[in-house]
């Protein structure tokens, strides 16, 4: 199965962005993701929603998505318009949640020095390359296990299990 490439501009944040700032617990009294997405990243950056309209690739530092297991975090980022996440490293549960939501999520060491806010990026998921067109840099991606690529290509774990009925 082939994955669609993603292109767009980088939206930069730093290290240890946790799920409490991605979506504060005080809003979790609903499961309506569109409503929740209005509060995505609110404590960290009140301008997030506006920025996503032009910058759809999240480029972050170490330990992205640490803290709570709330899958709402991956869901609101997607609902707000984020199409891929590139991080120096991820917290374990968030990484799984992102893949399960069908969000391409890659770990790229040293990424922070290669991408600035607003850089034009092209994520080639068939050749396993990230091209920073603004800086004319190409970065090799480490492949995800085929198993995870199948989940991504299905559009997430719900569709994966809906089709296959088993693991």
């Amino acid at each position: 199965m082939e994955l669609n490439n993603v292109s767009g501009r980088a939206l930069r944040y730093g290290d240890n962005v946790n799920t409490d700032v991605i979506i504060p617990a005080k809003y979790l009294n609903t499961t309506d993701i569109a409503t929740l997405a209005e509060h995505a990243m609110e404590p960290l950056d009140p301008e997030f929603r506006r920025k996503v309209s032009t910058c759809n690739i999240l480029v972050v530092g170490r330990n992205f998505g640490c803290g709570s297991s709330r899958e709402h975090a991956a869901m609101v980022l997607k609902a707000a318009g984020i199409q891929a996440i590139l991080a120096e490293s991820y917290a374990r549960i968030f990484f799984r949640n992102a893949i399960n939501q069908g969000i391409p999520a890659f770990e790229i060491r040293g990424l922070s020095s290669d991408v600035d806010q607003g850089d034009l990026l092209e994520l080639d998921l068939n050749l396993w390359k990230l091209r920073n067109l603004t800086k004319a840099i190409t970065i090799e991606l480490s492949r995800l296990p085929d198993f995870l690529m199948d989940i991504l290509a299905s559009g997430g774990l719900v569709n994966y299990l809906k089709k296959r009925r088993t693991w």
């Binding site: 700032v21 499961t31 404590p43 803290g67 709330r70 374990r92 949640n97 399960n100 774990l157 693991w167």
Partner: protein, 421 residues
């Protein structure tokens, strides 16, 4: 092949003779826990996947704990859906408001629902608390919980294991919380990402199951997949009381570890994690004197008998500072009743504390103690991220129950050794 406890459990549950770190396995889950925050999303994903039958309702535990009783119409509706789901699918292990309820991680251990050798998945990051009784407790997302509801299985990457060996013994009022804060300060917030931690050593064997739960609980604050405390006499005698049968899966003596870290408990000073990261750890002495508005004793980290007793030791014949709200939340109804019988609640109430029903509430700013702008709280909970307990300008210091109690009395961050008897 020599394996660690974590590897043995993953091998057993995936039907393999052995596994190695990095292997991806599909394993049978022995128990799944969902709560009212993650459960409703799991239920929706379960239905979207096209399943209508839960694989084994006996192996599902559904808990309302994050903000109970309901704080508004929306949260009431979410809980109503959880109750209906549990009824429809005959999930008998359902815990709600009152009765035998409480915080899920406490209930799993206290009710004997988890034990050594079990693979426990919970749609909550602090599921690693089950490691206190040598279970492999792993936090998962809601869609993964749905996959387990449907198939009873989930994929796991076999983690490397880090061994943490602690020598010496804790000197009260220094508690297990001070030890785990000290470990987190050294390992850092992402120092054990994707890894399993195995806790052992003389000091750990002298720590009660209550304290071991505090330690296992905060493993995730280092990014760990799980934290397992080595089974010993204390584990066995605790499990006998809860009626849980025992499957011993000890690490082989020649098992391979990613690394071994040594700590000593004897010289440990009271520790505190300053805003806004649990790994921003220092000695309490370094921030003594910072004025506080609220002190919180509770949560899945520190709402157990040992914690309440330690606070009562400090509160006895003392008063909560007039500028401080001292919020005490037993982690379960069972603990609530026991603390009532022991007179601990009376001591705390007489000192000026407020006792709430078991809930996660204030820990994540959902109910029963949300902070206003610029307020400061000393908390026995596990996270102090920006806005975690309320307004984004509020500040949370994580500390032990004795430090929380001493600070509640003084109205400012205080070393508990000044008040311990």
């Amino acid at each position: 092949m020599a394996m660690t406890t974590c590897e043995k459990i993953l091998a057993k549950n995936s039907g393999r003779a052995s596994v190695s770190p990095g292997d991806i396995v599909v394993a049978d889950v022995d128990l799944l826990m969902i709560n009212e925050i993650t459960g409703p999303l799991a239920e929706r994903a379960f239905e979207d996947m096209g399943f209508d039958k839960v694989w084994n309702p006996e192996k599902v535990v559904a808990v309302l704990d994050h903000a109970i009783p309901a704080v508004d119409v929306r949260s009431a509706s979410v809980m109503k859906k959880m109750r209906e789901f549990a009824r429809t699918h005959s999930v008998k292990n359902f815990y709600g408001v009152g009765g035998e309820g409480g915080i899920a991680h406490q209930l799993l251990v206290e009710k004997g629902l988890v034990g050594p050798g079990m693979l426990v998945a919970g749609a909550d990051s602090h599921t690693c608390t089950a490691g206190a009784v040598s279970a492999l407790g792993i936090g998962v997302g809601s869609t993964e919980a749905a996959a387990i509801l449907a198939t009873g299985k989930l994929w796991f990457r076999v983690p490397e294991t880090v061994k943490i060996e602690v020598t010496g013994h804790l000197r009260p009022p220094v508690m297990a919380k001070d030890l785990i804060l000290s470990i987190i300060g050294s390992v850092r917030a992402d120092g054990a990402t994707y890894k399993a931690i195995e806790y052992c050593g003389e000091a750990v064997s002298k720590i009660s199951i209550d304290g071991r739960m505090t330690i296992a609980n905060m493993s995730v604050e280092m990014g760990a997949k799980t934290g397992i405390v080595k089974t010993d006499e204390a584990t066995i005698s605790y499990l006998e009381k809860t009626g849980r049968s025992l499957t011993l899966l000890e690490s082989d003596p020649d098992a391979r570890y990613d690394k071994t870290l040594q700590f000593d408990a004897s010289d440990l000073e009271p520790k505190i994690a300053a805003p806004f990261q649990a790994d921003n750890v220092m000695e309490v002495g370094k921030v003594e004197g910072i004025e506080i508005d609220q002190a919180f004793l509770g949560s899945c980290t520190n709402g157990r008998m040992e914690d309440l007793r330690a606070a009562a030791n400090i509160m006895c014949r003392r008063r909560v500072h007039p500028h401080v709200r001292f919020i005490v939340i037993p982690a379960s109804m069972k603990i609530y009743r026991e603390a009532l019988r022991e007179g601990i609640l009376e001591t705390l109430l007489s000192a000026g504390a407020v006792i709430s029903n078991p809930t996660c509430g204030p820990c994540l700013g959902m109910s029963q103690g949300v902070l206003a702008a610029d307020e400061v709280c000393v908390s026995s909970s596990n996270r102090n991220f920006v806005g975690r307990m309320g307004d984004k300008t509020s500040r949370v210091y994580l500390a032990s129950p004795t430090t929380v109690a001493a600070s509640a009395v003084a109205g400012k961050i205080t070393d508990p050794r000044r008040m311990w008897s």
